[in-house]
């Protein structure tokens, strides 16, 4: 007889495991401070954080901070995506250009965006533009590298087919290179979207540019621990939303890709 240890877990349906885990976590966060396992001054019970969150949502400052963060994230991501795609298609399209730029890219890419904080402040002070600079710098790399990989991935048989039918440069780009690159681009965008959010909040936290990050710093300075946690939870929720949005977009755009295809009537 074979015994499958993992079978026992199946007593709970798969779809419920995730919510169940969240619920357990929430229970722990509520119970631990109340039981005195952690000092409530540093980690207030979840219910208090939730109450603080409700207070925040009632005020206008929170919403404008949220809008600032989303704006810094969105604009930065858009600029990074446009630059990454443009550069990627141009560099990837020409082998000599690829070889010339490879070392430069390998040098610039590992520089942590946060190391550019002084530069950003020097250039743009503590305004939105500083956030934008850091966000763009951090999120352009995943897009660029993925597009470069995508352009190189064009199937040789498909390439021969396009050449055999004498397709023009534009038709090849539009109907062969671009669709081949799309799955790579989607992965790059998903990574960039997360990185952009991290950098947007970091810039506001460190530089004091307007946004959720600055609100977190202020709440901490004012010793409003529950408010601080409430804002942290919001940034976490943003991250989840960004990732879910990116995945949904991926499934829509890549309906033809082997990883997404579903049976559909012709």
């Amino acid at each position: 007889m074979t015994w499958y240890p993992h079978r026992r877990i199946r007593a709970v349906p798969d779809g419920l495991l995730g919510p169940l885990g969240l619920l357990l976590c929430a229970g722990l966060l509520e119970a631990a401070p109340r039981l005195g396992l952690v000092p409530a001054a540093y980690l207030p019970p979840l219910s208090e954080t939730a109450a603080a969150l409700a207070d925040e949502a009632a005020g206008g400052a929170f919403w404008s901070a949220l809008a600032d963060t989303l704006r810094g994230w969105g604009y930065g991501l858009a600029v990074a995506a446009a630059a990454g795609v443009g550069l990627g298609l141009v560099i990837g399209g020409a082998a000599p250009l690829r070889r010339v730029t490879a070392s430069t890219i390998e040098f610039l890419r590992p520089i942590p965006s946060v190391a550019l904080v002084p530069l950003a402040v020097l250039l743009y002070g503590t305004g939105q533009t500083s956030t934008l600079l850091l966000v763009v710098y951090a999120s352009v790399w995943p897009v660029l590298l993925q597009v470069l990989a995508g352009v190189r991935d064009v199937d040789p048989v498909a390439r021969d087919t396009a050449a055999g039918f004498r397709l023009s440069w534009w038709l090849r780009l539009r109907h062969l290179v671009w669709p081949t690159t799309l799955p790579f681009l989607m992965t790059g965008l998903r990574l960039a979207a997360s990185v952009a959010l991290i950098l947007a909040v970091t810039a506001q936290l460190v530089i004091g540019a307007p946004g959720l990050g600055r609100e977190i710093a202020r709440a901490q300075a004012a010793n409003a621990v529950d408010r601080m946690y409430a804002l942290v939870v919001v940034t976490g929720l943003l991250g989840v939303a960004v990732n879910a949005g990116a995945r949904a977009l991926e499934r829509r755009v890549l309906f033809w890709h082997a990883s997404v295809r579903k049976e559909a009537a012709a």
């Binding site: 039918f165 397709l167 799309l182």
Partner: protein, 283 residues
Amino acid sequence: MTTRARVSPPAALARRGRLEVEGLAKTYRGKRRTFEAVRDLTFTVEAGELACVVGPSGAGKTTLLRCIAGLLPPSAGAVRLGGEPVLAPPPGMAVVFQEYARSLFPWLTVAQNVELPLRQKKLPKAARHGLVERSLAAVGLADVPGAHPWQLSGGMQQRVAIARALAYEPDVLLMDEPFAAVDAQTRAELEDLTRSLWHELRMTVLFVTHDIDEAVYLGEQVLVLSASPTVVLDSVAVDLPARREQLATRALPRFAELRAEVFTLIQRAKTYHTAPPAGEARA
């Protein structure tokens, strides 16, 4: 529309569709190894003829085809289509590849796949749609224009690739082991489809295969290649009736004779470079 009708008088077709391969050689030069794939190929396919090329696996059939298509520069020799040297993919030539799944674009529908080359030809929309519809109907796929290639069976996908080539209205159609990856039934159907389309359209067809039966059944001429470095061993004229039929034609005594003849040549092809016939000095 004021473009001239594409009804080709025999003389014009003779000019356009004649395929000449002369002294063609291809040596692959890599960093680590040089490999002489094709040594010396010379043959002519007359305009409107259906010729088959057979050779053992690795003989350089794909190499030959890519050179003819202008996709690969030969190391020596020349390819001429309608008298013009082929230096890049020429107009009026279409290729059907063995790997249909990779040759069709999965992000386009069947109809869009067939239409794409026509957009390069700058045909007006109505003309494009007419051609797409007719060529899909010709391969028996009139009812799936909106499907994506990956929703179709292998045989259907290869039909789409054939329809795409037909819609392009080529003077010369090159086919590289197009039916090697489909089951026997589908294969028989596609062979008959190829014959009947050729009958109807009278373009030049060069059909590459490693299957002797297929070569004899389809071709008017069978070119037998040696193992690589490749040379043409012989050319067998196929004097079977023009209208062929899977069971009846294959049952003809003449079919068996031709098959045996090509088979013997292929056997020789495999050992051509290791055991030269007596009296023939090796270079």
